[in-house]
Subunit: 582 residues, 2 copies
Amino acid sequence: MGANSSSFSLSISSPNHHLFPSSTLNHSKSPSNFIISPSYHTHFPKSLSKSPLNSPPKCSIKQTKTNPSINSPKNPVFDPHTIDSELVQKLVHDALVWSSLHGLVVGDRNVKRSGLVPGVGMVHAPIALLPNSFPEVQWNQACELAPIFNELVDQVSLDATFLQDTLSRTKKVDAFTSRLLDIHSRMLQIGKKEDIRLGLHRSDYMLDEKTNLLLQIELNTISCSFPGLSCLVSELHRTLLSHYRKPLGLESQKVPINTSASKFAEVLGKAWTEYNNPSAVVMVVVQPGERNMYDQHWLTATLKERYPFLLYFIDIRLIVIRSNRGVFGLLKSNPELINTHNVTCIRKTLAEIEAQGKILSDGTFQVDGEAVAVIYFRAGYTPTDYPSESEWKARLLMEESAAIKCPSISYHLTGTKKVQQELAKPNVLERFLENKDDVAKLRKCFAGLWSLDDLDAVKNAIHQPEGYVMKPQREGGGNNIYGDDVKETLLRLQKEGSEEEAAYILMQRIFPTVFPTVLVRDGICYKEHAVSELGIFSAYLRNKETVISNEQCGYLMRTKVSSSNEGGVAAGFAVLDSLYLT
Amino acid sequence: MGANSSSFSLSISSPNHHLFPSSTLNHSKSPSNFIISPSYHTHFPKSLSKSPLNSPPKCSIKQTKTNPSINSPKNPVFDPHTIDSELVQKLVHDALVWSSLHGLVVGDRNVKRSGLVPGVGMVHAPIALLPNSFPEVQWNQACELAPIFNELVDQVSLDATFLQDTLSRTKKVDAFTSRLLDIHSRMLQIGKKEDIRLGLHRSDYMLDEKTNLLLQIELNTISCSFPGLSCLVSELHRTLLSHYRKPLGLESQKVPINTSASKFAEVLGKAWTEYNNPSAVVMVVVQPGERNMYDQHWLTATLKERYPFLLYFIDIRLIVIRSNRGVFGLLKSNPELINTHNVTCIRKTLAEIEAQGKILSDGTFQVDGEAVAVIYFRAGYTPTDYPSESEWKARLLMEESAAIKCPSISYHLTGTKKVQQELAKPNVLERFLENKDDVAKLRKCFAGLWSLDDLDAVKNAIHQPEGYVMKPQREGGGNNIYGDDVKETLLRLQKEGSEEEAAYILMQRIFPTVFPTVLVRDGICYKEHAVSELGIFSAYLRNKETVISNEQCGYLMRTKVSSSNEGGVAAGFAVLDSLYLT
């Protein structure tokens, strides 16, 4: 195994927004060519929850000692640690100003109301100062995979037996998956079909340093976070590279344009059109006290601003087909007409939905008196989102309704780790995809995945635990098992012979390149060494007859401070980043 | 005198950014037809400096009792107090989200670092939820006056004797004006000429309810605040009116498009071009700990983003004239070329300028090693900006340099109240403006202005103090004298026979309409009654040969909670607003 090993914990690689709380990032003990001395990890505090009043007034740069062995990533375009500190100061200042003016913001954890009321207690999102080098070949590969994964999710979601069978053992040991499966069963029982199916997905990858392979960490089918903010980070980086072209010597065009917010909004709008009730709303299911609300607001704001154009565009297309006349310019010149058809978006917690929601006789889902066309989940992916039966009632009610669910219960279950592991088995993909090239492309990005009833895999993992990660089915973060703990846990499970082993899968441990980076958080910048993970956003929309959208929409690069795991799980911290193609 | 009387104190009508601290707003005792009961004034707290943790989680609406006599402004398009509370909630939520995403933000006074580091401790700017009705005739009048006032400032600034003579008595009693005059004298002494003259002005008006006349409060020639944020408020209001067209029944186009940020940035860019040194920077002179920094950042960000286009536009125009070929499209298609000429902007306090600045032998002003093309003052207008001799040294150094000053010391002095009062005397405008129509237009907007050596005026003011305001020359806010205090102060000054009277001017008290409004601050909305003041931004740029820019650039509507002045000076609170033309 090469260099430093790292694999993101659930809390990081999960679809949700656990970017802000310190999250876990793990390394095996560093091989000699990549010694991560503790001095590299002490600079980024695990918790910055102290009052900002005590922070230095100007952006202080926390300088790490240079370790030459670390400054040699595989794609060493530039090393941001070599930029002189005066230029770093200017870049940080400009980045913070740009973020503030352009809505690259989150709720400040130090301000209690910041998750409750928009516009108060805002702070810039934690960001990497400059983009992260990434090979163009693997970038293209990741983009190419997006529509294939979309198609796979849709096909798997239709195979109810496959989902129920695959998750049958998990059901016994994981209460959360069990509840989801109950809803799924109930839908089968009442013969509920989803004719209009909407998926807003994010497939997360790491680049394995030794093999240079792009390997999938997981495929998120519910509540994918950061489509709203990640595109802003790309724009910020392009702006900085453009303004500081001479001193940095980098080309802004090498940061791929990121259209995650506008594309997700567009497809939400298209789904709304498919529902075909102009007075119906798009409902965002939110967690109470959501500090990452601006990421979500960007989607709904874009939808509200943009959607009227889509509506007219469809009308025009029909006119064009029928009469071959170009009427588009005419409509564009009348802004009032355009403004009359804004999509209304509402935000509700699961508890509010339970209290205010009902299904009308025609299947319409009504919340607080408003018909709901599309339900977009930004909550409901983790057990803690269901503190009482009310939330489960809300989830069931939505699933039973005629509203378009993003995702449906089937899409949600298709994104579970157990299904991911099952799909990695030989000849399983072929059940769902006809195109052999597509199957080959997907398989190429699969890391090794095994269930714990695979005795050979378990034997190997006990023998060589540093090559594996044990992932619990349960979402929620921080529960992955690494290193010697893999061995110990496997031995314990073998001894006990319990069903508990069904709660885990084994995954090949991926070892991404550790690279030097400059991170900015709470107005303070840090020189650190980090690893990163690439998420590709994709959207899928179809009705009974045809596929309306199936496309790559943008990307999320998350960069996390690397930490040694002396003594077990160590804490890292993640920021939003973008790509610099090499 | 009709209805409620109100005149803004210095702290509000002054050019600076005293929007956030509670500021004074005064009324005479209300005549019977417009009784402002105390219940209207207790809802907007004078200070909200308590922790937001104690604030309600959702936008609470503070409802005032309806007083029918108040709901009859002269231009009663709609009364926002009659909007149902559910719709108000939606509007407030959307307004707060829009503000957060679009950079309509300020530093939160509760976060100490918010004035020191960008991107931390941000909160939405205090705003009126909906625009304020304003008659189109007076709006057009105010716009028409902008270039005439620009021309007047330029002409007055060239008459050194007029400035020195007019301010000679003020000099003896006002230390701040005295220091400014010393710098002015020094420039005369060394024969310093400003060939390139740049003014970014704001002329503030109120609409007198009784006469329906647009009357000038003052003309600001230094540090005019809110060109960056006011245009965002107009855009916010247009967006809300458009999205809620049906329930509100208002037309978004009736909110005039506000180009204050882009126009100010454009003229700053043009001035930079005139200076003709591509490596020179634009320097913003700032107060330390500026919480209104985003208002300033909007100008410099726009300048940086936009300026390359201006530069190329000039190049292209020359090519077009010479060869009659359309080359513009070609250049536009090469973004890299465009990106190489960004204007650099730096921010410095007066103390930093004193420490880092020097004048090179050719007159170039250099700060921290960088040549300065344009000095844009957003500090230096008030005595508190000069806590030591260092700041005065910095001011003198800048004035002596070849950099373009916005404003020069002459422009600054031209904006003083004493000069305003002198210009209002018969036959004075005619000394500076040839066009008689222009003179008539300016005179029409002048409120009554008198010096304290005008014995008739003083006599009248003692007899009828409620019709006058005493304004001290000194900037800084909260020093205006109203009501019985006018009488007492005038009698005291008469008795003492001191020079102190030269520190004041007498101004006709303006009585604007009190109207119902909804204000939003710190995420909380308030139904209040308020008065407002219209500021018209204008830019003027000329070189030795020709006037390059002389135009109206945008507007600032400030709306303040009206307060009775039982017991003297009462506190009001100001928010950013926009216009709805009637």
